[in-house]
């Protein structure tokens, strides 16, 4: 028995060590670290979020989601929001900060109903959605890396009825969210230590979806002159720099704005800068990386909708404070979300 235990322990020891290292320094817990750490398999001490939590204004949740609202009792709202994950963020998202200001009533379209928010909004407009639901403003949000692509191949004839939406909501509620389990047998125990070593030599090692590059200044509370951003921010720069495609996007938004105007609704467009774009000027070795031009081109175009120039607004804010975006996440922090909410309110009044 002793021989068996000794040999088995010796055999399993290196594997258990790797498992332990991975468990201690790498987490998939969303409350302890952002998505860029998980996507990049990056070791982290997990203290960043605790450090910056105190900066954020905590407000009660005051927005409503379409999947949870009873339209028979409640169908008139000041604002409707539709977008991607930047329109999420629960109580720390811009929509909730907006809903807490000046007793504004806000309805949010759930993410699963609006994979492409631009097309989804067109479909709702063509259907009976706005016959039943009365809103004064719509905030159409899209992250920079996807915004141009979302305006390609738009169908102006597609429509979505409220009946279809109800059906999707029911299906979604039945789909039980599987508890994400850490798989014990995972390539992470090799990949994670290996990738962290490779980060010492490369900005984006094999199999990582996160870039980690040096910056001239320190933009985050954790005092690191590093910037983490999602690989897709860089992949889509060429597409987003294409003036013709940006023009197409603006045309689509203008047309949509007119359609909504006939229904008495004002469109507010909120493109959210990619983290790569936002911090580009602070990158140490800019010669390695293509300059994003989306906002420069988009800003100059004539618009018939209300435009929130979130990049400019947040650049001004960044002169006063750090952590406009989370260090470890693709998304902006509640500081940015609150500021954006203030700007939206200004444009509504």
């Amino acid at each position: 028995m002793k021989k068996y235990l000794y040999k088995t322990s010796l055999f399993l020891l290196p594997i258990l060590c790797l498992v332990l290292i991975t468990k201690i320094f790498y987490t998939t817990d969303k409350s302890k670290g952002g998505d860029l750490l998980r996507l990049g398999f990056i070791f982290d001490d997990g203290t960043y979020r605790d450090k910056i939590k105190k900066k954020f204004k905590k407000v009660p949740i005051k927005f409503k989601e379409l999947s949870n609202v009873n339209l028979e009792n409640e169908n008139i709202f000041d604002v409707l929001t539709i977008g991607d994950s930047f329109s999420g963020q629960d109580e720390y998202g811009y929509k909730n900060y907006l809903a807490n200001k000046d007793s504004i009533t806000l309805l949010h379209i759930d993410r699963f109903l609006s994979e492409n928010p631009i097309q989804a909004l067109i479909n709702f407009t063509n259907g009976d959605f706005f016959e039943k639901i009365k809103v004064n403003y719509i905030v159409l949000q899209s992250v920079e890396r996807d915004i141009v692509k979302r305006a390609e191949k738009i169908s102006w004839k597609e429509q979505t009825s409220l009946e279809f939406i109800s059906k999707k909501i029911k299906e979604n509620s039945l789909r039980k969210k599987a508890k994400e389990k850490d798989n014990f047998f995972s390539d992470g125990i090799f990949k994670i230590p290996l990738i962290n070593i490779l980060y010492l030599f490369q900005d984006n090692p094999y199999d990582s979806q996160t870039y980690k590059i040096a910056t001239e200044n320190n933009f985050f509370t954790n005092k690191t002159n590093n910037l983490l951003f999602y690989f897709d921010d860089l992949e889509k720069v060429k597409l987003n720099n294409d003036s013709l495609k940006v023009l197409t996007l603006n045309k689509v938004l203008n047309e949509l704005s007119l359609k909504l105007k006939y229904k008495g609704i004002k469109l507010i467009v909120l493109p959210c800068p990619d983290k790569y774009d936002f911090y580009y000027q602070g990158i140490s070795k800019k010669n390695k990386y293509i300059e994003p031009m989306f906002f420069d081109r988009f800003d100059r175009m004539d618009k018939s909708y209300i435009y929130i120039n979130s990049k400019k607004i947040l650049m001004d804010l960044s002169k006063e404070t750090k952590d406009i975006y989370y260090y470890d996440d693709t998304h902006w922090s509640p500081l940015a979300a609150d500021k954006i909410a203030q700007e939206i309110l200004k444009n509504m009044n």
Partner: protein
Amino acid sequence: MLFNSIDFVIFLPIVFMLYWFVVDKSIKLQNLLIVLASYVFYGWWDWRFLSLIVFSTLVDYSIGRALNTEKTVAKRKALLCASLLVNLGLLGFFKYYNFFLDNFITVFTFFGAAIKPNTLNIILPVGISFYTFQTLSYTIDVYRGKLKPTKDFIAFSAFVSFFPQLVAGPIERATHLLPQFYKKRIFNYSNAVNGMRQILWGLFKKIVIADNCAQYANIIFNNSEDYSGSTLVLGAILFTFQIYGDFSGYSDIAIGTSRLFGFDLKQNFNFPYFSRDIAEFWRRWHISLSTWFRDYLYIPLGGSRGGIWMKVRNTFAIFIISGFWHGANWTFIVWGLLNAVYFLPLLLTNNNRNNLETVAQGKYLPSVKEFFMMFLTFGLTVFAWIFFRAENISHALQYASGIFSKSLLSIPEIFPNFLIVLIIIFVLIEWRGREGQYAIEDLGKKWKKTFRYSMYYAIVVLIFWFGGKEQQFIYFQF
């Protein structure tokens, strides 16, 4: 609790240490630990269903004791019927209630009657198809006088709930497993090492082969209308390896784990894809279930004795019921039916017991004839698996008809190179080890320690490297 989960990785050493260091002096305490550990293992999934296994244990223990004292034939029959009723009743309710109700409604609706369905939201308790059959084997063998009923309730509970094989087999016979609970288990080094090797190979089959095949098989089956015939063939082959890797992998882990505790379980898969005909396949695939049906259903029905029609009837009955055991869906019944159609010609021409020894025994390669026979049998099996995997009959027919189209000769749209290479290596290792209990049973035993341990590490690295999304064991749903 899944074998490939972190929960089990923590659970097993704790139980192992308690078993061999704390309660090793007493058989009763060892058995009690097995019972408690097994209930924790089972209850980890859903504690509410522990009541079913406890109920089944109590009923069959009591019936066993009653059969010991009852001499009247009619009363003995009644006791046996009670056991059958309880066990099959539980199985029938949890597994088949909604199936029968839905089909009942379909038939009546067809004839114009409007019936309001009252389907229930029934959760299928994990392992119910396995442990009910295991306890039934006890009462039937006691009834037949093949086994003395036990007075030791703890030993019996341990036999029913033995965690390595509780949720997905092998279905052990009471005559084989129960006596092992009466004897003191003494730690045996080579047995434990053998157990670890078998667990390692089982994990390899499940995680590297089955889970990776599943990813592609699922894509192809779930979108079968969009793929060419050749891709559909690939999907069917990948599912064939998925189900083998999954199920035989689980059995290997179960048998290996049992060895760690001093128990010997019967081999459940004997390299079935190297079979030369369907009869041989069914002697090698899910052996514990097919022998259960043979001994408790086929032979009592008359088996192969009697005229042609009796043989035909019994063959169809066994395969259809076996198919139905797998799930409440017409696809499983059709799968069983298809296997019956494959098997019947062999039975009727007395060729069902031709290939009893391992193919190419003692040789490196099969003969051309053997290779051709294996290829044909494999092809028939792959085709039948389409029905097993499909969502419903129309999906299966759509899938099958999609194969036999012009696009059968095109290059598959999906071709996972790395997986194909892995499968080829896997088949070669299985072929090499086909005369053993499991493929790597004697692999490396004569090598130097360095090489042998390097082989173990290579397998471990592959298991972790290819460990992707944790996939449920397929047979958990049965």
